[in-house]
């Protein structure tokens, strides 16, 4: 089991390195980033100067080397050595910004390191992802199991029908409804505002502020997970070993919970891990509707401003989250299924 985990983690590290290389190459293949940064009415001299200042004049392999060095040991901005020396010589040392490892870059338009920007955006995004994950997994699996148990009965039909409706509703419709009607017009719920979670006394305001957006996001996933769970449970309950469990004389409850649900869990874990990972890169629509300054909002802003370092940082963080969740899913898989654990 330990060997399995070590092997998976090593493969994961290799994947992260390759991913960083690919992301970096892709973004630099789209031309000189300084032109986009400079804006519409930009003279050739201005572009040239900016290119030099931002270090885009160096060959791309050298830029990649600097980027990786920044990730490993950190780096100083502005990146142009001559410009930095000039600042020191003129007594503007405080204008030099040190970016600690793992340094993802520096946003010229925000005058902040990418790490600072991501750090600030991570709070709302992670909170949103975690709370909605808990809601959708709990209710999605619960309702899915109930639908499977009562297959063909009215409960199942209601569940199947309503999941279809909820799944078809766009997030911005549900979100706008919650915000405009539930919170603002009818005042049934306090206006959702993100409160950072810093200590145990923050839990109540944090959960109150996050609940509506998290529910908005969760409803969509919940609808899908009800259907997944229903299908997986029905499938596992038609296996031969379920007949064996019944033939042993187990009560139906135990047949379902011990023998049926366990095998339905395996595919659910895979799906849940990947869906959770994708949320860590930000839920763009939900964040926009509720005006949450999370990773999704940051991505939209960076995209509109042609803020390349922030975009690269976001993609790398999002992709790393997917890779890490994949490793966790694999380890959970081995924990659940002995055939994986003992496979050589």
């Amino acid at each position: 089991m330990i060997a399995f985990i070590i092997r998976r983690v090593l493969v994961g590290i290799v994947m992260v390195v390759v991913m960083i290389f690919v992301v970096f190459s892709l973004f630099f293949a789209s031309g000189n980033p300084a032109i986009n940064q400079c804006g519409k009415y930009c003279s050739a001299e201005k572009i040239e100067e900016l290119t030099r200042l931002l270090g885009y004049d160096k060959p791309i392999p050298a830029q990649f080397g600097d980027f990786v060095r920044g990730l490993v040991v950190g780096r100083d901005y502005p990146v142009n050595d001559a410009y930095r020396e000039q600042l020191i010589a003129n007594g503007f040392e405080n204008r030099i910004i040190h970016c600690e490892a793992p340094c993802l870059g520096y946003s010229q338009s925000d005058q902040k390191t990418v790490n600072q920007l991501l750090g600030k955006a991570a709070g709302p995004t992670i909170s949103l992802a975690v709370v909605s994950f808990v809601i959708w997994i709990f209710f999605g699996v619960l309702i899915g199991v109930l639908a499977a148990v009562f297959k063909g009965k009215w409960l199942d039909k209601v569940v199947v029908g309503s999941t279809l409706v909820v799944y078809a509703l766009p997030v911005f419709v549900i979100g706008t409804f919650f915000l405009q009607y539930v919170a603002i017009k009818w005042e049934l719920y306090p206006y959702p505002r993100f409160e950072p979670l810093q200590g145990p006394e923050d839990i109540l305001p944090w959960i109150t502020g996050i609940f509506l957006p998290a529910l908005t996001l969760a409803l969509f996933f919940m609808a899908a997970y009800v259907r997944y769970t229903r299908a997986f449970v029905l499938e596992s309950m038609s296996e031969d070993y379920i007949r064996t469990a019944r033939a042993k004389g187990l009560p139906e409850r135990r047949v379902l919970f011990k023998h049926g649900l366990r095998s339905a869990l395996t595919p659910l874990v895979t799906l849940a891990g990947l869906d959770f990972a994708s949320l860590l890169a930000g839920a763009i629509i939900t964040e926009s509707v509720f005006n949450y300054q999370g990773m999704g909002a940051l991505a939209v802003k960076a995209n509109n401003n042609h803020d390349l370092p922030v975009l690269i940082g976001l993609v790398i963080v999002g992709a790393t989250a997917v890779i890490v969740m994949n490793i966790i899913v694999d380890i959970l898989y081995a924990y659940i299924d002995p055939r994986v654990r003992f496979a050589k």
Partner: protein
């Protein structure tokens, strides 16, 4: 008159489907005494497994319509509540299945699954159940049971898995064991071992055994009585000796003749029964075997298509469902049947 230990009376299992009712078992009756073995033979879809699953009440909570009587030791199992049936399942009646790999849960250890059958019917601790599981694994011939008890099904060979299934089924010392083609998925050499094991255990526990199979070799080895099923009904029923030496029903004869004879010429082609069993969905009236029967020209024309023959006793303890008046088929000449389908 005392009722036999197991008495199945006019058992009917119907499955309603959107296309009509599937008559999987239609009026099946037989009896069985402790320590004896009944072989149920028939092609796939003849109702062997369906009728036997009904004894365990495995059709409860499905859309199957089950009627008739199943007397076990003086109690009608079909009249029991779901809860009462559940408490008897695995304790008084146990079952082993065809493919032991899919019949065992891949995520739990063999010991856990074998012990669970004991724990559910007896007020014992996990530790006692485990000890009992080890004892049973040892009894069914699994080497090194103390270690193997913690192995998972996929770490066992096919024969070992079936031994574990047998251990699970016999852990509560059931009065009746139903074996649903227990050797079909196994290698030939392992098949013989499993049959020997079943016979040994049956003798030891004085269990009544229902052996469902389509292998007449298994029947010849293990069964005291044989029930031949066709299209959900019994077509011939009697002692193993009667059926194998004096088959009185063309279908039974066909089954026997389709078994390759090791002493005969190897180049001699096998003799299959032509055609396919009929659909159990809205079956036509008449003898279900008529389209495939090589002896139908000995019966007045139109009778087999019109009327289902009764199950009649032709010798003490020997029943058949056939329109033929002659019981000794060797006195009749068969005709080749052209089954056009």
């Amino acid at each position: 008159m005392t009722r036999p230990f197991l008495s199945v009376e006019n058992l009917v299992v119907h499955f309603p489907t959107p296309d009509g009712i599937v008559r999987a078992t239609d009026g099946l009756s037989y009896t069985l005494e402790p320590g004896k073995t009944l072989g149920i033979v028939g092609e796939s879809g003849s109702g062997k497994s369906v009728s036997s699953s009904a004894i365990l009440g495995l059709h409860r909570n499905t859309n199957a319509q089950v009627s008739g009587k199943i007397w076990l030791d003086g109690v009608d199992l079909l009249a029991l509540s779901d809860k009462e049936m559940q408490q008897r399942r695995g304790k008084d009646v146990a079952m082993i299945f065809q493919d032991p790999l899919s019949a065992l849960h891949p995520y739990y250890t063999v010991g856990d699954q074998v012990g669970e059958a004991y724990r559910i019917h007896n007020d014992v601790t996990k530790k006692q159940a485990r000890a009992r599981a080890i004892e049973m694994l040892d009894r069914v011939g699994i080497p090194d049971p103390h270690r193997r008890v913690d192995a998972y099904p996929h770490q066992f060979s096919g024969g070992m898995r079936q031994r574990a299934m047998i251990a699970m089924a016999l852990i509560n010392d059931p009065e009746l064991l139903i074996a649903d083609e227990p050797t079909t998925a196994l290698d030939v050499t392992v098949q013989a071992q499993i049959l020997d094991l079943l016979q040994d255990l049956q003798k030891e526990f004085n269990t009544a055994l229902i052996m469902i199979t389509h292998d007449l070799g298994v029947i010849a080895e293990i069964a005291d009585e044989v029930l031949v099923m066709y299209a959900g009904r019994a077509v011939e029923y009697g002692s193993t000796k009667q059926l194998l030496t004096e088959p009185a029903m063309p279908y039974t004869l066909g089954l026997i003749q389709s078994v390759p004879d090791l002493s005969s010429d190897v180049n001699e082609p096998l003799k299959p029964i032509p055609g396919n069993p009929p659909s159990l969905l809205n079956p036509p009236p008449g003898c279900p075997f008529e389209p495939r029967c090589a002896y139908k020209h000995h019966v007045p024309d139109g009778l087999p298509q019109r009327e289902l023959p009764e199950l009649r006793e032709i010798a003490p303890g020997h029943f058949r469902r056939c329109h033929l008046t002659e019981t000794d088929l060797s006195k009749l000449t068969p005709m080749p049947v052209g089954v056009d389908e």
